[in-house]
């Protein structure tokens, strides 16, 4: 591992894509010299091996991560288009570390789980999965906003094809819907990114997309003062224009769609129901976290005052999401759709904890992102296993499955319990901290959200009972075969984080904690920075900061 030492993070990020491209080249070469290309099994094996290797290296990241330090680690900074402040800039803190771990953990599992599931165009599938993994990892490790945006968009492409090619009957509709929803939001974000970028230029006279500065001297986006009120035009403030509010709203919309928060969630059930198992697992497990992660990494620290302003709305939407998602999940007839709506409820918890904006809430929120990835990922894997056998996901087609498939029922039970937040399993720790944080900040919202734990039990257990218990009424279910070795392996692998996070969450909380404290500190500092009494003071402060550079006068008139 010697030579990759300084590039550990880049290695983790790009190794899957490199493996994919390498396979493509070899396949091209092979068909050029006249063979029929590479066998499917080779594609699958190499795909799996490279994702496992990625996971292995990310474990090293996890172990070597210094949990006593705040700030970013494993930082790499290379100039890319320096004139425009576009750099290749990666680094992780405790929050992104967990997201990286979640991603590298889930992708190999998905490979094993869909080993027999995907039967058509296997090379393409393998390539897209590898491509997708790099896309997701790239977004999590990016510290340059331009680069983040690039990855944020790029990962749509493989996901679009995974749903569109290997999906169910309405796959094209679902894929387009997924794509348009996300694009719609992220265009607003793009505009907001550019505005922030220009504000930075106004204040510091330099074009910069880096979120944080690599050295103490240079300035980055997080040093930019985002004004609260509108600009002064001819001595009169523009009343309707509130810079920070609108920028947060633009970022927030992009991420809220991705989360998805009520009422932007309707793409999710369609995407999940149509996606193949692999797609659903990655979508629920990782892609949704782009939204929540985006809030934590960008929207909240960049626009803290607006974040506070929006808190009542976001809390309301989160609580509505929890209750609404649970109740709608309860009446679904398709298991996958049920799980999709349960995601709306679970991510409502994540958002609630996040906008408590205190340590408990944020710790719980970040942990719950991982928990949701694991639990819901596992649920989709299990639903997929049943679908492979029976080619239906309707609850009413089942009943009494525990009889022919006891091991399956046991794992399903474990995951169900983890999803409804049973103590000693992962879901509890996150939910508990979220609700506790919520209670410290906004007791009424948290109290209502707590009722979500009752509803979670209702919809999950009701589904479990109708699928697993009772007599076997449908003769087709009588001869179902229980889990095979490969499937058991997958489920045991999923059970490890479920139990670990439930029994000893401190392994993870220790790593999250400093980053959360840092985030809260940033919010505090930047709130103080932006809520100075008047625009003159802001100008003074910015001017003092950039005294060396006379071009950076924030109050200068627009150039004709």
């Amino acid at each position: 591992m010697g030579p990759i030492e300084p590039f550990l993070l880049s290695f983790v990020t790009f190794f899957p894509l490199l493996a994919g491209v390498g396979l493509l080249l070899i396949a091209a070469l092979a068909s050029w010299i006249g063979t029929k290309g590479l066998p499917d099994s080779l594609w699958k094996s190499v795909g799996l091996a490279s994702t496992l290797a990625t996971f292995g290296v990310s474990v090293r990241l996890f172990v070597e991560f210094d949990a006593t330090r705040t700030g970013f680690q494993f930082v790499e900074h290379l100039s890319w288009i320096p004139e425009y402040g576009v750099n290749y800039f990666v680094g992780i803190d405790g929050i992104s570390l967990l997201m990286v771990m979640l991603t590298t953990f889930l992708v190999p599992i998905v490979f094993i789980a869909s080993w027999d599931d995907i039967r058509e165009s296997i090379p393409t599938f393998v390539f897209f999965m590898l491509f997708l993994e790099t896309g997701m990892l790239g977004a999590f490790v990016s510290l340059n906003v331009f680069q983040f945006y690039l990855f944020f968009e790029v990962m749509l492409i493989p996901m679009y094809f995974i749903i569109g090619i290997w999906g169910g009957p309405r796959r094209i509709y679902a894929a387009v819907k997924f794509f348009l929803f996300t694009m719609f939001g992220s265009l607003f974000m793009l505009v907001a990114v550019l505005v922030t970028y220009l504000l930075h230029f106004e204040q510091f006279g330099a074009l910069q997309f880096d979120l944080v500065s690599t050295t103490g001297e240079s300035k980055a986006l997080l040093d930019t003062v985002i004004p609260l009120s509108g600009q002064i035009v001819d001595g009169e403030p523009v009343v309707w224009w509130k810079t920070q509010t609108w920028l947060f709203a633009a970022f927030g919309l992009a991420f809220a769609i991705k989360v998805p928060m009520f009422p932007f969630h309707t793409w999710l059930p369609d995407a999940h129901v149509e996606a193949p198992t692999a797609g659903s697992v990655v979508l629920a497990g990782v892609l949704l976290k782009m939204g929540t992660y985006g809030f934590v990494r960008f929207a909240i620290p960049l626009f803290p005052v607006a974040a506070l302003e929006f808190t009542p709305i976001i809390l309301a939407l989160s609580v509505v999401g929890i209750l609404y998602g649970s109740l709608v999940a309860m009446v679904q007839t398709d298991i996958k759709r049920l799980v999709a709506y349960s995601s709306v409820a679970h991510l409502g918890f994540v958002m609630l904890g996040m906008f408590a904006l205190n340590e408990q809430g944020l710790n719980g929120s970040v942990l719950q992102m991982v928990n949701h990835g694991v639990s819901t990922g596992a649920l989709f894997l299990l639903v997929g296993m049943l679908y492979e056998r029976r080619h239906t996901r309707l609850i009413s087609d089942f009943g009494g499955i525990a009889k022919p498939m006891p091991v399956y029922a046991a794992f399903f039970g474990l995951v169900t319990l983890s999803s409804i937040g049973l103590p000693m399993l992962n879901g509890f720790v996150g939910e508990f901290l979220i609700l506790m944080g919520g209670f410290l900040a906004h007791p009424p919202s948290a109290a209502v959200a707590t009722f979500g734990v009752v509803l979670a039990a209702v919809y999950m257990l009701w589904m479990y009972r109708r699928v697993m218990f009772g007599p076997v009424t449908n003769p087709e279910n009588r001869s179902l075969i229980d889990l095979g070795l490969r499937e058991k392996l997958v489920m045991v692998a999923m059970a490890v984080p479920i139990l670990w996070l439930g029994i000893y969450p401190n392994t993870f909380l220790l790593r999250i904690q400093p980053s959360v404290i840092e985030l809260l500190h940033q919010v505090e500092v930047r709130t103080a920075l932006t809520t100075l009494p008047s625009t003159e003071d802001v100008a003074l402060l910015a001017a003092a900061d950039t005294a060396a550079d006379p071009a950076a006068d924030p109050n200068r008139e627009p150039q004709p």
């Binding site: 348009l180 106004e202 600009q231 340590e359 901290l433 209670f439 009722f451 904690q513």
Partner: protein, 680 residues
Amino acid sequence: MVNGATEESVLRLIPLLPLAAAAYHGVMLGLVRRPTPRTVTIAISCGAVLASFVASCVAFWSLIQHPNGSHLLVDNVFSWIGSGVGVHAFSADVAFLLDPLSSVMTLVITGVGSLIHIYSVAYMDDDQRDDKGFQRFFCYLNLFTFSMLILVLADNLVLMFLGWEGVGLCSFLLIGFWYSDEWNAYCGSKAFIVNRIGDFGFLLGLFLLFSSLVDVGKPAVEFQDIERNLALITEATLAVPEWLGGGEWLLVNVIALCFFVGAVGKSAQLPLYVWLPDAMAGPTPVSALIHAATMVTAGVYLVCRMGFLFAVAPFASMVVAWTGALTAVFAAVIAIAQTDIKKVLAYSTVSQLGYMFLAAGCGGYTAAVFHVASHAFFKALLFLGAGSVILALHHEQNLENMGGLWRRTPRTHVVFLIGVLTIAGFPGLSGFFSKDEILVAAFASEIPGHTWLYGIGLATSGLTAFYMFRLHFLTFYGESRASADIREHIDEPGKLIIYPLYVLAFFAIFFGYAGLPQVWGDLVFGVDNSNSLANFLMPTLAVVPHNQLDHTTEVWLAAAAITAGVVGFGFAWFFYMMRPQLPERIAAALRIPHQLLVRKFYVDEAYDLLFVRPLVAISDRVLFRVIDVAVIDGLAVGGIARLVRATGTNLLRHAQSGFAQTYIFFMIAGAVAIVWILLR
């Protein structure tokens, strides 16, 4: 005396041994294809619980070795959840606390638990043809024992919640043990969900308590720390929102009531008792262990454990007492008309739990714990006895098909009679003493309406005697009403079934002398400090001021209780021994009230109609079909899509003219516009 390190580490063995057994079973069931031989399953399961019992005894021993005042052992295993620093810091450890209260509970749980494990070996052997099913049963049973022990040994509320939810889970798994039957699976889920409503209250209480302690700068979830800092928040009030009437409530009352909601769910009190009678769908040993002796007393344990909170929350305590009293009489009334032997016992459990809350609400925490323990013995005895009857009759549970069993199952008859006498309060048996303590606590308490509470308790005691003797007479006396082919094959079950009953019968008779009220110590036995249980528990339980009663009053109270019992017995004797035809005729004459009783006041049906159906209907018809599908996806999302398409086809098509100049013009114009807007 054992040295320090081992002395405390023995605590962790108590819950971890059953956990290890459960984990072993789980791994064997999930990952090993070959079934484990029954002997191995039995050895591991029963061995673990017995070892846990031994560990509990060792822990108890080292506890009583301690000098007065340091009545506890703490075993800190590891830090479970740690989050935050400074004033918001929260941490919950896996740490066990053994004080007299948890010590009594562990002894009861592991002691009665061991007996029931042994009993189950025979009971389930008869039931389960399949080795995997047999092992699954013991896996759940061990997991339950673990959870229950965590619940009582936890030194903080969060770990207690782990046990709290764990027992709920095991209850769900064991009620639905025969999951192929739709009804059993339904009952299991019902139990879990109703319990979760209670857990909602528990969590609210926990969060409210924690955040109030944060407000005074003392965040903690450990019982001892909470108790120490509670004084800081006893005066605090909570502003009530206008729509709830406004004004201010005492914070401790609100917190205590939240916890009590949790207790109501777990201990099957009004209005959340509905799951317990249905829980009888589970195997009978489960009914004995979980739904009579241990789990359902968790709510009482919670109130006693948090006694320091309830003691300063007078309103909440009053609610506890009234809920208990009303539940006691309500369930006793329902029990009168039930015809399923286990249902009668289930309602009797609900009723007896009501007694315990009555005591706790009146500040008689010792009386409550005393009754928890004595009830554990006699109710386990009654349930296991019922199990023996059910086995003898080849899984017949209906009282209408029993009768005359005393000839065929003489040993079961005797121990069952002991159980009936104990619960009915026959003088000198443990139930007499513990129930008497409760009635005394109610009589002596200072809460408003305590004489009414006492009166309800006394009436319930008469009703208890009535329905229990009715049960006994219908089961064991009179002519056999079993069908001919069953009558041929009535056999008393074997030793593994009967011997645990003997042990329980012994304790049902003599356990009361561990908590002998002082009045009998003085008047009958001539011993000082006769109530060793109360003396043992005293240092850890909260003390609530109450009226002092003299011995004469107490004797009169006891006489009243005995009279109530005799009256109940007399009526039962009259109706079911002397005039066995009479009950039927009364039922026919009073058809409507009788139906009301038989159908349990239609509470289940009412809940279904008021809550379940509307919730499902609204979720499906309104939230899903209207809001989600029609409004959000159809109107909003679809509307935007249509708008975009319309704009595209009607307007923007013209923009796509193909002239490069036009494109460049619009591009530059757009860019200028953006820059102007942003920078002006």
